[in-house]
């Protein structure tokens, strides 16, 4: 690889106890609403190993994006964060702005859904790509430019020298997202937080951008947290999946196990309600009602009002997370239910 391996020494030194690169323990996020706190994320436990790809899947309001943003301290104004975030053995919760900034510039990078909103429209692609290298990694400008062109080639943009002189509005969404990926690769972070990175793209472009991200991430040993509403996409590109509903993780399993034997009724329902290009059913099996945000849920299992398997017990308190054949699932009936996965 042509890209320099950066600050490998400090990576090797510190290891957290459980070997995880990132671990979230009982993470909660609430925003002020009048005199009360309105929870958006509750009791999230999730860990990501070095080089591992984890998919965080959920519908709107599930808290998946907020969970990722909280890791970088990108929380709404006045928000309250509870629980623990540990990155590479060091607590991030309560870290000061300088420490957070160091984390964001070198160790954890984020790819957003809409690259157009995150790349300065009045600066060139070249400026955008070299800025972080020059400012944060103290790479001399000419070298940074040469490296940027190589990175563009890595993400499949062959005429990099010309692209470097262009402005964001001259590039399509797919090209711009590849520029965003190149900018992430430039700093060789340990972890990439990818928030719906391909949702705004056409399917063929999505396939290409995900392939690029997947390949380059593996080559460089970077871990990834992929935030998406698309369970199939997450299953195809991640080692492990966590499904969120109403601010909580309801199920965590290795990707193949989760899609073949889902343990939570919501996961199964989500898979079955999605139409297929291989088979048509007369009526799609639907989950009634609409997805809830954490603050809208009442006392029991937040999914119970929409769940075909709900019983009395489901309405009494939040279901605790239980271990079941390698799955972590927050459903009191998980042990007795046999749920349908994808065929």
């Amino acid at each position: 690889m042509s890209v320099h391996k950066l600050h490998t020494s400090d990576k090797a030194e510190s290891h957290s106890a459980d070997g995880a690169l990132l671990s979230l323990r009982g993470l909660g996020l609430a925003v002020p609403a009048g005199k009360e706190w309105r929870p958006l994320v509750e009791e999230v436990d999730l860990s990501i190993g070095r080089g591992e790809a984890v998919g965080l899947v959920g519908e709107s309001g599930s808290g998946k994006s907020m969970t990722a943003r909280t890791v970088l301290g990108l929380t709404p104004p006045g928000a309250r964060v509870t629980g623990e975030i540990v990155f590479d053995g060091t607590p991030v919760t309560g870290a000061d702005q300088r420490a957070l900034r160091a984390l964001r510039t070198r160790r954890i990078a984020m790819i957003f859904q809409d690259p157009r909103a995150h790349i300065n429209p009045v600066r060139t692609i070249g400026d955008f790509l070299t800025e972080a290298m020059i400012a944060n990694l103290e790479v001399p400008a000419p070298e940074a430019a040469a490296r940027a062109v190589r990175l563009l080639a890595d993400v499949g943009i062959t005429d990099g020298e010309r692209r470097m002189r262009q402005y964001p509005h001259e590039l399509s969404g797919g090209l711009l997202q590849r520029v965003m990926i190149a900018s992430v690769l430039a700093v060789e972070p340990d972890l990439v937080l990818a928030d719906e990175p391909t949702t705004a793209l056409d399917v063929t472009t999505q396939s290409e951008v995900m392939a690029i991200l997947d390949e380059l991430r593996r080559e460089r040993g970077m871990a990834m947290l992929l935030i998406t509403h698309d369970l199939e996409l997450a299953a195809a590109t991640c080692d492990r999946l966590a499904v969120m509903y109403a601010g909580r993780i309801v199920e965590t399993q290795p990707a193949t196990a989760l899609t073949s034997t889902p343990r939570h009724p919501y996961t199964s329902g989500l898979m079955l309600s999605r139409p297929s290009i291989d088979a048509v059913v007369h009526r799609l099996p639907v989950i009634p009602g609409r997805p809830l945000a954490a603050f809208e849920a009442d006392d029991g299992c937040a999914f119970a009002p929409r769940c075909a398997h709900a019983q009395g017990l489901c309405h009494e308190g939040r279901p605790p997370v239980q271990e079941l054949d390698g799955a972590r699932v927050a459903c009191v009936r998980a042990g007795e239910l046999t749920l349908q996965g994808e065929s």
């Binding site: 519908e59 709107s60 499949g156 062959t158 969404g173 056409d202 399917v203 063929t204 472009t205 999505q206 396939s207 290409e208 951008v209 995900m210 392939a211 690029i212 997947d214 390949e215 509403h229 698309d230 369970l231 199939e232 996409l233 299953a235 195809a236 590109t237 899609t259 329902g269 989500l270 309600s273 999605r274 139409p275 297929s276 290009i277 291989d278 048509v280 059913v281 009526r283 799609l284 099996p285 639907v286 989950i287 009634p288 609409r290 997805p291 929409r306 994808e342 065929s343």
Partner: protein, 263 residues
């Protein structure tokens, strides 16, 4: 009267020097659901806009319910007549409703324009329509902002079917919805078609959704139709390279993303 509800022939649309739609022809039969599939820039939305008269074709002809669509100005009476023939549901349920208009009034306005009903009759009919799309009476007095995206899309559907059109154009109508809501709306659309014999032109980039909702499909790329056929056949055995690539890019069990050959 023939059972052809839309006949489009040699449609072309130019915007300045750009050609958005080029030589597009198709027929839609009564009760049929036709999907227009394509990626961004394929011209599929321009086709939809020409069908409902929001754009005028640069060339080619459209006839709806056996009546040719001219290019000149039309009277308001003619407009109302056309509205009884074809209606549209847009992608974004947040911008397609007037934010100051209550849900019941949205549907009632549509009814008042087309049917000589007393206010009481109109109200009753509006509530029936809301019920038909899965909304309750209490929703009638709400404003759009009090509804979720899925509920707003139901309102847009209720408004469109209120005038009992022959054809409903759905332009990426489920694209912005959550997966669990998308399934509900697809089932609702299937029910409405079964009940009323309405025809759909379903504009979409999503092959799985298209598979579920349409009988026939045309695939567009760069303004032209590259392939057409019965939807199940088209998806099972696509003949054209472009359709194959489109199909191969859809995430599904066992799928891996792949990099195209660089041009």
């Amino acid at each position: 009267m023939s059972d052809i509800v839309i006949e489009a022939s040699g449609l072309r649309k130019e915007f300045g020097t750009a050609v958005a739609v080029d030589d597009v022809s198709f027929t839609l039969h009564r009760g049929q659901s036709l999907a227009v599939v394509g990626e961004s820039g394929s011209g599929k939305t321009t086709v939809a806009r020409m069908l409902i008269g929001l754009e005028t074709p640069s060339d080619g002809t459209i006839s709806v319910c056996g009546r040719p669509r001219g290019t000149g100005r039309v009277s308001s009476r003619e407009r109302r007549k056309r509205a009884r023939e074809i209606q549209i549901v847009f992608q974004d349920p947040y911008s397609s409703l007037d934010k100051l208009q209550r849900i019941g009034d949205v549907v009632e306005t549509s009814l008042a324009l087309h049917f000589p009903l007393t206010p009481a009759e109109r109200r009753r009919r509006a509530l029936e329509l809301l019920e038909a799309v899965g909304l309750a009476e209490r929703h009638a007095d709400m404003l759009p902002r009090q509804l979720s995206g899925g509920q707003r899309q139901r309102v847009a559907i209720a408004r469109a079917i209120a005038v009992q059109p022959e054809v409903l154009v759905l332009d990426e109508a489920v694209a912005a919805l959550d997966v669990s809501i998308q399934a509900q709306i697809l089932n609702l659309l299937a029910d409405i078609r079964e009940r009323s014999g309405i025809s759909y032109v379903f504009i979409s980039h999503d092959l799985a959704v298209v598979h579920q909702i349409s009988d026939t499909a045309i695939v567009m790329s760069n303004g032209r139709i590259v392939e057409r056929g019965a939807t199940p056949d088209l998806l099972r055995a696509p003949q054209e390279e472009y359709t194959r690539a489109l199909r191969a890019a859809v995430p599904r069990p066992g799928w891996k993303p792949s990099r195209r050959q660089q041009a």
